[in-house]
């Protein structure tokens, strides 16, 4: 009787042990999955965020201030452009580039305009309170291609280079408007005097 009791307790002990290892194995599966998820999460999210902040991202253009270069169809179809952060990491832009920058009047909004003049240039303005403006050091003069329908430097003056966000290099969508955006100054906006001369 004692032997059978011992046998029973031994059996129960073994059964309990098997239960525990079974549970440990299934819990181990969950734990391994959780570990893999955390590892992937902490690798993928910072890399993706850093890429979108520092290398390139994509944005939809709204508004008519850059017609006919961007959004020629008006509100029917908005262009989607590729924004290149890497090119402006040292704040180097050329006259004629299409750039996106933080709006000086509303920091939550980004605006996309063309660079007309760099620091030291004298610009003949269209609609600004001064007829001629010399762009101060560390600033640029931006204008939309659709004069009169554009909230640009003619309204808020030269903008600091620190607000520069990205350089728009290509139009990605709609497919029939796939193209590389050229850095050309509109002929009627040639400078009065540039620093390089």
């Amino acid at each position: 009787m004692v032997a059978s009791a011992l046998y029973l307790t031994n059996g129960a002990h073994q059964y309990g042990y098997e239960c525990l290892t079974g549970m440990a194995q299934s819990k181990g599966w969950v734990r391994r999955y959780f570990k893999a998820f955390c590892k992937g999460f902490f690798v993928a999210v910072p890399v993706a965020v850093t890429f979108l902040d520092r290398v390139a991202c994509v944005a939809r253009v709204e508004g008519a201030s850059m017609q006919p270069s961007l959004n020629p169809g008006g509100s029917q179809s908005s262009d989607v452009v590729l924004l290149n952060h890497w090119k402006v990491r040292n704040f180097e832009v050329q006259r004629g580039d299409i750039v996106s920058l933080v709006s000086p009047k509303n920091p939550e909004q980004k605006i996309i305009k063309r660079v007309i003049a760099l620091e030291g240039d004298i610009v003949k303005t269209m609609g600004h309170k001064n007829r001629y403006v010399k762009v101060p050091r560390g600033h640029i003069w931006v204008e939309g291609d659709h004069h009169g329908h554009s909230f640009d430097s003619n309204s808020f003056g030269p903008v600091s280079l620190g607000l520069l966000h990205a350089h728009a290099t290509h139009i990605l969508w709609p497919p029939e408007r796939w193209q590389k955006l050229e850095s050309v100054l509109p002929p009627e906006r040639l400078l009065v005097q540039s620093e390089a001369e």
Binding site: V43, F91, V102
Partner: protein
Amino acid sequence: MLRGVLGKTFRLVGYTIQYGCIAHCAFEYVGGVVMCSGPSMEPTIQNSDVVFAENLSRHFYGIQRGDIVIAKSPSDPKSNICKRVIGLEGDKILTNSPSDFFKSHSYVPTGHVWLEGDNLQNSTDSRYYGPIPYGLIRGRIFFKILKRFSKVLIWLSEA
């Protein structure tokens, strides 16, 4: 042998990219340690003080009057300035030096802030270059390491 070396190199590059990205996210969205130089914020912040800056207030537009902020310099985008916010948009600001008899004032435009250093005699700030856009603000300083400990930190980094 070559495969082993290549494998090790790739792993090292992978780890570097991963930790670099995590560091970028931390500095951009959370905050970091900054060393300030210059006399324009004395006596609050001395030359070569080490301070903690957080970037959450900037993203949630919670910068208040009286905060000390770090911003990109309007005339040189690669350098940072460290000043106190005196006025937000719409505030009326006195723009003359105390010795002028006639007081002149102006209003801070929308989307801009007016910055001044605490050491008014020795600070180039908004009295010199005007209000700066809110988009140039990088972060808000909320903590300063005591002078004794900052000397220890500088010594450790030069060792």
